[in-house]
Amino acid sequence: MPEARVIPLRPDDDDPYVPPPSSPGWEGQVAGGLEFLQRRLTGGYDTDEFGFDPDLADHVLLPALRPLFQKWFRVETVGLENVPADSGALVVANHSGTVPIDALMTTVALHDEHPAARRFRLLGADLVFEIPVIGAMARKLGATLACNEDAERLLTEGELVGVFPEGFKGIGKPFRERYTLQRFGRGGFVSAALRTGAPIVPCAIVGAEEIYPMIGNARTAARLLGLPYFPITPTFPLLGPLGLVPLPSKWLIAFGEPIETASYGPAAAEDPMLVFNLTDQVRETIQHSIYQLLLRRSSVFGK
C-alpha cells in the first residue's frame, strides 16, 4: 500500500493576501505623458545609427497601431516560439495589401505578443525613405534601407530583421492574384543570412490582402507621381478620404520553423545554386503556410 499523502485543504491560506493588480490610473498615465513630453522637449532619449527611436516607438507609434492590431484586424499570431528570444534572425514574409500595413502589424505582433518583446527591424525600399514624413517615421520605428550592408549589420548585432522579398510586386498585385506569392527578388536576403549565419524564419500573413482590394491600377497617375502603382479599390478614390479606411478583415500571422543557415558557413553566400535553392525553400514554406492559414480562417471578415 502506498504511503498516505497529506493534501492541504486550503493551500491558499499559506500565501498572504495580494490584492489584484490595478491598472495604472489616469494620474499615472498623465504623469507618464508629462515625463515623455519632458524627454521629447529636452532631447533626453537615445536613438541608434539607423535612426531608430525606441522612446517614440514605444510611446507614440506602437500605441497608435495597437487598436488597429487588436480591434480592427483582430490579429491572431501562431508559432511565436519559432522566433528566437535573444539572437539575430531574419523573418521573411509575404507582402500584400496595397499599403504596407502588414509590416506594421507584424512589428506590433512581435513586440506585444512575443515573450521577449522583440523589436522588429524592417527593411524597406528606397522609395519609402525618399518620401518626407513617412521615411523619417519609418526610420524612427526601426526600419532601414533594404540592402545587404544594413541587413548584415543588424543581424550581427543580434536584431530581428524583417524582409518582404516580393517588394512592390507583392504589395501592388491585383486582388484576383491574392495569396499567390510573387517572385522573390534576387535572393539577397538569403545571402545576408548565410553571411551572418542567422536563421531564416518564414512568416505567413493572411488577411492583409483584403484590406484594400486593388481592382485596378491607374498607371498614368502612378507615373506622374513617380510611384510603382496607383491603386484603385472599390472605395478609393471613389469615396475620397473615406476610401483610405482599410476593410476590417480577419488577420492571422504565422511564424514557421526556422531554417538554419549557420552550418553552410559564410562562404556559401557566393554559391548561387545554394542561394536559389534556399530562396525557393523559403518561398514554398510561406506559400504552404498561407494555404493552411486560409483553411483555418472560417470567413474573411469573421471573428
Binding site: R10, D13, Y17, P19, G25, W26, E27, V30, A31, L34, E35, L37, Q38, R40, L41, T42, G43, G44, Y45, T47, D48, E49, F50, G51, D53, D126, L127, F129, E130, I131, P132, V133, G135, A136, R139, K140, T144, L145, C147, E149, D150, R153
Partner: protein
C-alpha cells in the same frame, strides 16, 4: 621614426593652427612650417609658438620652393574649404580646393624628402541620399556621386591623392575622413548652424548626425602625422543623434521648412553672412550620414574620448539655450505635483463614495 620637418597647410584656421601648435610643442620635431593664404590672428600666432609661418598660396608654385628648401618630410594638407562664404564664393573655393591640392601634390612629387602625406578629408565623399546604407565603411562609395560643392571637391581631391600615391609609392599616404566637427572652440558648418536660435530644417526629414569633438579631431590628426598609419580611415565619435534631437538638446527651436523654401532661406542667410547651406548640405540635412569607425579603433588605434552625445554636450556649454531645460523641468515638475494633489483628492473622494472591500480575513478557519 617621428617626422623632422612638418608642413601644415591651412594653419590660420582653428584646427590647422591647433595642430601646428601641438606639433611645435613636441621637442622631437625639428621644424614646423605653417602655410596659409591669410595670416593667423594674433591670438593664434601666440599659440603657434615656434611654428614658422609662410604666407603662401598653395595654388602658387612657390609652395614647391618652400618644401624643397626646408626638406619637408611630412605634409599635412588641411587647406580645404567647406563653404563658399569662407573663401569668397564657389569659384575661388573650388580653385583653392582642387587646384591648390594639385599644386601641392605636384610639389610633393618633385621633393624627394617627402615621405608622408596626410589628407584631412571628409565623410561627405559618401554623399547623402535615400539609397545609401545606414552606415558607411571605408570600402563603400557614394551611390550617387555628389554633384557639386564641397563633397564633389573632396571626391576629386581624394582621387588626386590616390594617383599621387601611385606615382610615389615610397610616400606613406593617410586619408582621414572626418564626420562633422563640433566643440566649444572650433568653427565648423554645424557649430554655426546650431548657434542660430531658430534652426531651419527640412520638413518631414530627420537626419542622423555623427559628431566628432575638436579634441578628438586634433588627437587623430596628430597621431596620423607622427604615426605610421597608411590608408583611409573614417573618423567619428561613437553613437549618433537625430538632428531634431541635437537641436532639442541644445535648447534651440526647430523650424521645419519645406525643402524648396529651405533653399531660399539658405541663399538669404548666405547673403547676410550667417550660415550658408548649399544643395549638398541640404541633402545632408535630409538624410544624414553615419560612418563605421572600427578601422579607427583597431588599425589606426584611437578611440575618440567624446561620444557624439558628449561632444554635443560639451559644445552646449558655449551656447546659451533658447528653451532652457531647467524651465522645462520646473514646469513639468510643477504640473506633476499639481497632478499628484488632484489625484490624491480624487482618490479620497472616490474612497469616501465607494469604500474598497476589506481583505478577506479567513485565517481563523484553519483551526476550526
Amino acid at each position: 621614426m617621428p617626422p623632422a620637418v612638418v608642413l601644415v597647410t591651412g594653419v590660420s584656421r582653428w584646427l590647422g593652427g591647433a595642430l601646428a601648435a601641438e606639433l611645435a610643442a613636441d621637442p622631437a620635431i625639428t621644424r614646423v612650417i605653417g602655410v596659409d593664404t591669410v595670416p593667423p590672428s594674433p591670438e593664434m600666432l601666440r599659440r603657434l609658438g615656434r611654428t614658422e609661418f609662410v604666407r603662401a598660396d598653395i595654388r602658387n608654385p612657390l609652395i614647391g620652393k618652400v618644401i624643397a628648401a626646408a626638406s619637408v618630410d611630412t605634409v599635412v594638407h588641411m587647406n580645404i574649404s567647406s563653404t563658399p562664404a569662407g573663401s569668397g564664393g564657389r569659384v575661388p573655393m573650388k580653385e583653392l580646393n582642387v587646384i591648390g591640392t594639385m599644386q601641392l601634390l605636384a610639389a610633393c612629387q618633385r621633393a624627394p624628402s617627402v615621405r608622408r602625406f596626410v589628407l584631412k578629408s571628409t565623410s561627405a565623399v559618401y554623399g547623402a541620399s535615400s539609397r545609401d546604407p545606414a552606415v558607411f565603411t571605408e570600402t563603400m562609395q557614394a551611390r550617387q556621386v555628389p554633384s557639386g560643392g564641397f563633397a564633389r571637391d573632396s571626391v576629386d581631391i581624394e582621387g588626386y591623392v590616390r594617383s599621387f600615391a601611385r606615382r610615389r609609392p615610397d610616400v606613406e599616404v593617410a586619408v582621414l575622413r572626418f564626420t562633422n566637427f563640433i566643440g566649444p572652440r572650433i568653427d565648423s558648418l554645424l557649430t554655426g548652424f546650431l548657434r542660430m536660435p531658430l534652426v531651419p530644417t527640412a520638413l518631414g526629414y530627420d537626419a542622423r548626425v555623427q559628431l566628432l569633438h575638436e579634441d578628438d579631431a586634433l588627437a587623430v590628426l596628430r597621431r596620423a602625422t607622427t604615426g605610421s598609419f597608411t590608408g583611409t580611415v573614417n573618423v567619428g565619435g561613437a553613437g549618433t543623434l537625430l538632428l531634431s534631437q541635437a537641436i532639442r538638446r541644445l535648447g534651440r527651436i526647430e523650424l521645419p521648412l519645406p525643402s524648396p523654401a529651405l533653399g531660399s532661406v539658405g541663399r538669404l542667410s548666405r547673403r547676410f553672412g550667417f550660415v550658408d547651406y548649399s544643395p549638398e548640405q541640404m541633402r545632408f540635412l535630409n538624410f544624414g550620414r553615419v560612418v563605421d569607425t572600427s578601422v579607427l579603433r583597431t588599425d589606426f588605434g584611437y578611440s575618440p574620448r567624446f561620444t557624439t552625445a558628449a561632444a554635443l554636450a560639451d559644445y552646449a556649454r558655449t551656447v546659451p539655450p533658447v528653451v532652457d531645460p531647467g524651465t522645462v523641468h520646473s514646469v513639468t515638475d510643477g504640473l506633476r505635483s499639481l497632478l499628484g494633489r488632484v489625484g490624491g483628492a480624487a482618490t479620497a473622494v472616490e474612497q469616501r463614495l465607494r469604500p474598497a472591500p476589506p481583505a478577506p480575513g479567513l485565517r481563523a478557519v484553519r483551526d476550526a
